[in-house]
């Protein structure tokens, strides 16, 4: 790989593409377009941090938005209520590399069924369940590309969809939680498997293997062993000499000319000065909340209800992934704070089963859940004292002897669940805050409870001395998974983008991130977002090369 100096473009230069967001999708998009010779600028809201700047500081990273979004979000369950700031929370990272920097790196593929569930099950009352316009087979080559281009560790499991190439790296070493989980699940006749993760079990492409420090979930990896876009694809994009990653650049509007074509985007720099970056085409990879928000903020006379929103579907059918979790206490020390969060999972209940009487499926994993502050604040069972000598004793005694079993489930596309612009709340730039309207479909909560019940059985079978619910199966007021808000589809009246990720309404405007997803999968959407971006990058490049943008 020939490395050229990092390029910078003047804003007045019309680049081939401007990409908004540098996360799981934006980083991949930057790599795919720049390596095909296109000039591009990637605009990232947050700063650029080097791995050496990542800290092991729970107070800062988990409680004080060390690298995550500090902007206000208002929240309500239904559109009959007034949304309130603080009633719920979205979590995404705000730096070069986006949430792929701070995610836990659980890395599941969707299964074949996730793309065709509507055909298999029919409609679900209260939801707008649809098939994807592409299949698992269409996406499989790009899942494999993700595996090999960014570095994924794992081994095939009994319920996995077909794969065209093995994992590039062996699974991570099993932790005590994985051993106990496997023991309990096997006793019940279930089929636990190694957890695939976007973390390097061995050195790969000049990057370090995992050092097992334990700071994956919500932290950046200072060893570069987590396969974020910052660690993997962004350096490749920059080495082309065609791609500028412009940090501290907060986009507020996609600009449209009189012909209805995008001409670039207007953004604030670090000093809150506005600039227009011109481009021949615009690709939004800002995440499943920020992408629809940006479209809605880009309304104009021509697009009075928001850009690319002739279907009225921008921001609609917001999906999260649901789930509940339970702790188990064991006789000996597990030391779960060491190494990665998850090493074993269970997909026996992945598929929806009509015999259960409701829609949904999912997975269960065994994991480290709470760093010290979070553990001491709220990790103990409800019947434990909250202060005093006995509290102190239990906090110390249980910390290393416990593990969490976490359920990860489907989230139905409910039309009234949405991202919209809050009519009154503004962020620090004076832009409308994101307003979330979200209430889980009853089936989402039922499958969540089902997996919690199975988790309790597995904890018993594994020999837990005590078990307790950490978070119950209840309507979500928190998420890091932002899905389905600009879905892909063939019908321009019911979807926002086509199978090339081109918006139905604006020929040179493309969207690719969690918003593109038609169904939620069962959790862990980042791998699918990256696979979609590899596929979209290839197709957008081909359109550009053919002069069809």
């Amino acid at each position: 790989m020939q490395v050229r100096p990092r390029i910078t473009y003047p804003t007045t230069t019309e680049v081939d593409f401007v990409v908004v967001g540098s996360g799981a999708a934006g980083g991949v998009m930057a790599k795919e377009l720049s390596t095909r010779g296109f000039s591009l600028v990637v605009l990232e809201q947050g700063p650029r941090l080097e791995p050496s700047q990542f800290e092991h500081d729970e107070f800062k990273y988990l409680f004080n938005n060390g690298i995550s979004n500090p902007s206000p979000v208002s929240w309500r369950k239904t559109d009959k209520e007034e949304a309130k700031v603080g009633a719920g929370e979205l979590l995404y990272a705000r730096l070069v590399g986006g949430s792929s920097v701070h995610f836990t790196a659980n890395f599941w593929r969707l299964h074949e069924i996730d793309f065709i569930e509507r055909s298999r099950l029919g409609g679900i009352p209260g939801a707008d369940l649809q098939n994807w316009p592409i299949s698992y087979a269409d996406l499989e080559p790009y899942y494999t590309k993700v595996d090999w281009e960014i570095g994924v560790s794992g081994e095939p499991g009994p319920f996995d969809p077909p794969r065209s190439r093995p994992y590039p790296l062996p699974p991570m070493p099993v932790k005590s939680a994985g051993v106990l989980f496997e023991r309990g699940a096997r006793k019940l006749g279930l089929h636990p498997q190694s957890a695939p993760v976007a973390i390097l079990s061995r050195p790969f492409n000049g990057r370090n293997a995992c050092q097992h420090c334990g700071y994956c979930m919500q932290f950046g990896c200072e060893y570069n062993a987590k396969s974020s876009s910052l660690a993997s694809v962004i350096p490749v994009a920059e080495a082309t000499g065609k791609c500028e990653i412009r940090s501290n650049s907060y986009v507020r509007k996609v600009e449209i000319d009189a012909r209805g074509r995008a001409i670039g985007v207007t953004y604030f720099d670090a000093q809150k000065q506005e600039h227009l970056q011109r481009a021949k085409a615009v690709v939004l990879c800002a995440n499943g909340a920020e992408t629809p928000r940006l479209l809605l903020m880009s309304e104009s006379n021509r697009f009075p209800h928001g850009l690319a929103n002739s279907s009225g579907r921008v921001g609609k059918t917001l999906m999260f992934n649901v789930g509940a979790g339970a702790f188990g206490l064991f006789e000996h020390e597990l030391n779960e704070y060491r190494s990665i969060q998850v090493t074993r999972l269970l997909h026996d209940f992945y598929d929806s089963d009509p015999k259960r009487g409701y829609y949904g499926g999912g997975g269960i994993d065994a994991r480290f859940q709470k760093y010290p502050i979070t553990w001491a604040l709220g990790g103990l069972p409800d019947d434990a004292p909250r202060w005093g000598s006995e509290y102190k004793r239990m906090v110390g005694d249980y910390f290393n002897r416990s593990m969490l079993l976490a359920g990860h489930t489907t989230s139905l596309p409910v039309p009234s669940n949405s991202i919209s612009l809050d009519p009154t709340v503004k962020d620090a730039w004076g832009l409308p805050a994101i307003r979330v309207t979200y209430d889980d479909h009853p089936d989402d909560l039922k499958i969540s409870q089902f997996l919690l019940d199975r988790s309790m059985e597995i904890l018993d079978a594994a020999g837990a001395q005590k078990k307790w619910v950490d978070y119950p199966a209840e309507t979500a007021t928190f998420t890091a998974h932002l899905l389905g808000t600009c879905r892909m589809g063939k019908d321009p009246t019911t979807s926002v983008i086509d199978t090339d990720h081109r918006t139905h309404d604006v020929r040179n405007l493309f969207l690719c991130d969690g918003s593109s997803m038609v169904t939620s999968g069962r959790g862990q959407p980042t791998m699918t977002i990256m696979a979609l971006a590899f596929r979209a990058g290839e197709r957008i490049a081909a359109l550009a090369q053919r002069g069809e943008i």
Binding site: L62, L91, T104, G323, S339, Q341, L377, G378, K392, Y471
Partner: protein, 193 residues
């Protein structure tokens, strides 16, 4: 479910009062860190930035009942009061008034229940516990409880958790790099147990 339920779980558990000890602005946290670095290294007699000596003694007395010094070091040895003082002089400055009002109320309860007592601080630990049980559902107590816990288990750079006594209580060996086996059960599995 999400991989990130921790903060949400905390906010749900703590309510608004506890959450006030969490700054929304990272720059303010940096200011607190700078404060902490300055004062941890300064020679005695220690000067608090936000609290008088009596106020600090009162808050520390409560913290010592929340995380007592028994077989293992507690809030006192961790220097939780220094964490609180930093917070109350920087990002949680808005909480100083309500916190001191709560402390004043506690002192009044102490003197009215046991006439002749000058303050909560002066009570025996058993009497302190008796009084705290009465107010344990109050916003004031919950706020001090959460602040004590955060101070005990946050990085020592924030002023508490001195000598990592909080982490030692958990047997959390912070910031290491490890090789398997990590715990008892994976070690046992490796041996074929």
């Amino acid at each position: 479910m999400q991989d990130h339920v921790t903060r949400r779980a905390f906010l749900a558990a703590a309510g608004a009062a506890g959450a006030a000890w969490l700054a929304a602005d990272p720059e303010l946290v940096q200011a607190a860190l700078a404060h902490a670095r300055q004062t941890v290294g300064s020679p005695p007699p220690y000067r608090f930035a936000a609290l008088t000596a009596a106020e600090a003694a009162g808050l520390e007395a409560i913290a010592m009942r929340i995380l007592p010094s028994d077989e293992t070091p507690g809030a006192k040895e961790a220097g939780v009061i220094h964490f609180m003082d930093k917070a109350l002089s920087t990002y949680a400055a808005a909480r100083k008034g309500p916190v001191l009002a709560g402390l004043d109320d506690l002192d009044k309860r102490a003197t009215s229940k046991w006439p002749g007592t000058t303050s909560f601080t002066a009570l025996t630990p058993a009497r302190q516990d008796e009084l705290l049980k009465v107010i344990e559902q109050s916003d004031f107590f919950r706020e001090i409880r959460d602040a004590t816990v955060i101070g005990m288990f946050a990085n020592p750079s924030y002023g508490g958790n001195q000598n990592q006594v909080g982490w030692k209580l958990l047997n959390f060996q912070a910031h290491g790099v490890y090789q398997p086996p990590f715990g008892y059960y994976d070690a046992e599995a490796r041996k074929g147990g």
